[in-house]
Amino acid sequence: MPQRAANLAETRKNNWDQYPDENGKFGQFGGRFVAETLMPNILALDEAYQFAKNDEAFKTELSGYLKHYVGRPSPLYFAERLTAHYGGAKIYFKREELNHTGAHKINNCMGQILLAMRMGKTRIIAETGAGQHGVATATVCARFGLPCVVYMGAKDVARQSPNVFRMKLLGAEVRPVTAGTQTLKDAMNEALRDWVSNPDDTFYIIGTAAGPHPYPAMVRDFQSVIGNETKVQMLEMEGRLPDAVVACIGGGSNALGLFHPFLNDDSVKIYGVEAAGLGLDTDKHAAAMAGGRPGVLHGNRTYLLQDDDGQILDAHSISAGLDYPGVGPELSFLKDTGRATYLSTTDDEALEAFQLCSRLEGILPALEPSHALARIGEIAREIGKGGLVVLNLSGRGDKDIFTIAEALGNKI
């Protein structure tokens, strides 16, 4: 039996819910690779999270805010015209763009800020790429009256100016990061530097399913509301599970949120779509799994874009939310075990998919899920008529209109 198949058989028998182990490992991936100053914080967070996730009072409080403040459950919507356009399986959208703040990011922020308050933390920091996680963090900080500092690469500050202004309106301080490549990875470095300098009072709300353990597991769990709702809704609407679930891959929070509840359902195929930028054959892309190899960055071992010396390479994507040289460790594990299939989409393909979805469904998707939309036709045809496919429409495109206008050669 080839190694991959053997691994898969082994993990299936073992049940996917057992990952990560107590050291935060998903096979060889994950872990806690941080400076000693932060280790006590990471361990305390793990302890607090392990307690909270089994605590009925915490779960009730969180689901109350998700319902009344975030607006959950988000609809599962049959994209009829897009389905007709491709002529394959029925395409459903999980409408995460209808959440308060316009993306899936707030699911996780709500969970983490409730945890932060339980831990007695009085100051919140976050990193952001596209700005969606920054807006979501600023939002929950405003709601609960905690000061908020958001680190954002200077390049992203320039290309996501509407979200920068939103964060400021919400009372957050946005600190542009001019080090390194001035994008998401540098924002994360700077947030970690802040945390190492303020370990006592500060809680770091990481927005993606990456970072040192317990973040990858915790973010995935808070985002799993997406997949759990999808399951219930699909059973109500179609009377059975979908044949495939599809999401774009940046760090992996929207993807794992949809994927994780389906991992133990062997009949459900898992498709992740990485950002191929100007093309996988160029050095301007953000496809860590297609074009990288395992290494250690930002507290975890995972697939990374890196050179022969282990220096992290610049990622490129038209979508700021996918412009990251790594990927969450659980997604790396799903790659090596063969449970997930990963595809990629170029900038141009994402722009086309954005326009098609806008015109056929009356929904302006964010550039991030536009990458998943670009592959949905092939997947729907492969599954075939009578099949069911769910795509995580993880965010709305309003924040991207300036970028899109520029790419299409228009002036707003």
């Binding site: 050291n23 872990g31 806690r32 690779f33 941080v34 400076a35 000693e36 100053t37 932060l38 280790m39 006590p40 914080n41 361990l43 080090a179 390194g180 990875k185 540098d186 470095n189 970690l192 530097r193 190492v196 300098s197 303020n198 370990p199 006592d200 290494g295 250690v296 960055l297 930002h298 507290g299 990374l304 890196q306 022969d308 010396d309 282990g310 220096q311 992290i312």
Partner: protein, 270 residues
């Protein structure tokens, strides 16, 4: 030699009633050539141990000084392999001075732990500090280093409490590096009175010399810190002085030598 070279550097300083002087330089900064001259000058000025940084694109625990030094080194084409070549040149000239590599895990993973440990031993490296490899994650690397008689040196931080300390010092050789402030390198200033007790606890538990670093920029701070430590580590201030000299067209080696002499004088116990 190797681990023994670190131990004798501390023993030698102690016999002279002073703290050992540990000075940090980023490999290949400000230029490949000047870096090697600076290393020689630091030894001439009185450094007992050299910490040679190898650059990483994402140095998460560094303040602006060493971040920028890392970027300059990468721009000068420095890799872990080239850092080891610099180490080898250094060792050929200086048989007594301790030599420690300091950096982040990914370049080491990329080279492979075993290959790295062998190459480092061949280059005459005595110890290794990996900032983002806490004891929970450094087991495999530690074994490879130990097989080559290279010390793994860990950082103990102000946040490391009594319950965690045994884990941090387990398997450490040479010395324990006590991080004087919760923060990144070279930003916050050291408060000697505040850490005195903590340093004594670490020293007693580890039964090894303790060197204090992060936050020592002046001779005054170096002198105060020397009173409570077996060694002091100065990084950002060395990097800044040398780079300023480089930018102003001064002789980097001379500036480095004077800096080391001044700090060496400050290590004397009262």
């Amino acid at each position: 030699m190797t681990v023994a070279r670190i131990s004798s550097a501390f023993a030698n300083a102690a016999s002279q009633s002073r703290a050992a002087l540990v000075l940090y330089v980023m490999a290949g900064d400000p230029t490949l050539e000047k870096c090697e001259e600076v290393l020689d000058a630091l030894v001439e000025g009185g450094a007992d141990i050299i910490e040679l940084g190898f650059p990483f694109s994402d140095p998460m625990a560094e303040g602006p000084s060493i971040q920028l030094a890392s970027q300059r080194a990468l721009a000068n084409g420095v890799t872990l392999k080239k850092t080891l070549a610099i180490a080898q040149n250094f060792r050929a000239k200086h048989s007594q001075t301790g030599l420690i590599l300091m950096g982040y895990l990914n370049p080491i993973e990329s080279m492979g732990y075993e290959v790295f440990a062998k190459n480092a031993a061949n280059a005459g490296v005595d110890g290794v500090i990996v900032v983002d490899a806490p004891p929970e994650e450094d087991g495999e690397l530690r074994e490879c280093l130990k097989a080559n008689d290279i010390a793994i040196i860990r950082l103990a931080a102000p946040t490391t409490d009594a319950a965690r300390l045994p884990k941090v010092i387990e398997g450490v050789e040479g010395f324990v590096y006590y991080v004087s402030v919760a923060g990144v390198t070279g930003v916050k200033a050291i408060d000697v009175a505040a850490i005195k007790e903590k340093v004594a606890i670490v020293k007693a538990a580890a039964n090894l010399p303790v060197a204090i670093g992060f936050g020592i920029r002046t001779a005054e701070a170096a002198h105060k810190t020397s009173q409570i430590a077996d060694g002091i580590v100065i990084g950002a201030a060395v990097v800044d002085s040398v780079f300023a000299a480089h930018q102003n067209g001064q002789n980097c080696a001379q500036v480095a030598r004077e800096f080391a002499m001044q700090m060496r004088a400050a290590t004397q116990k009262d």
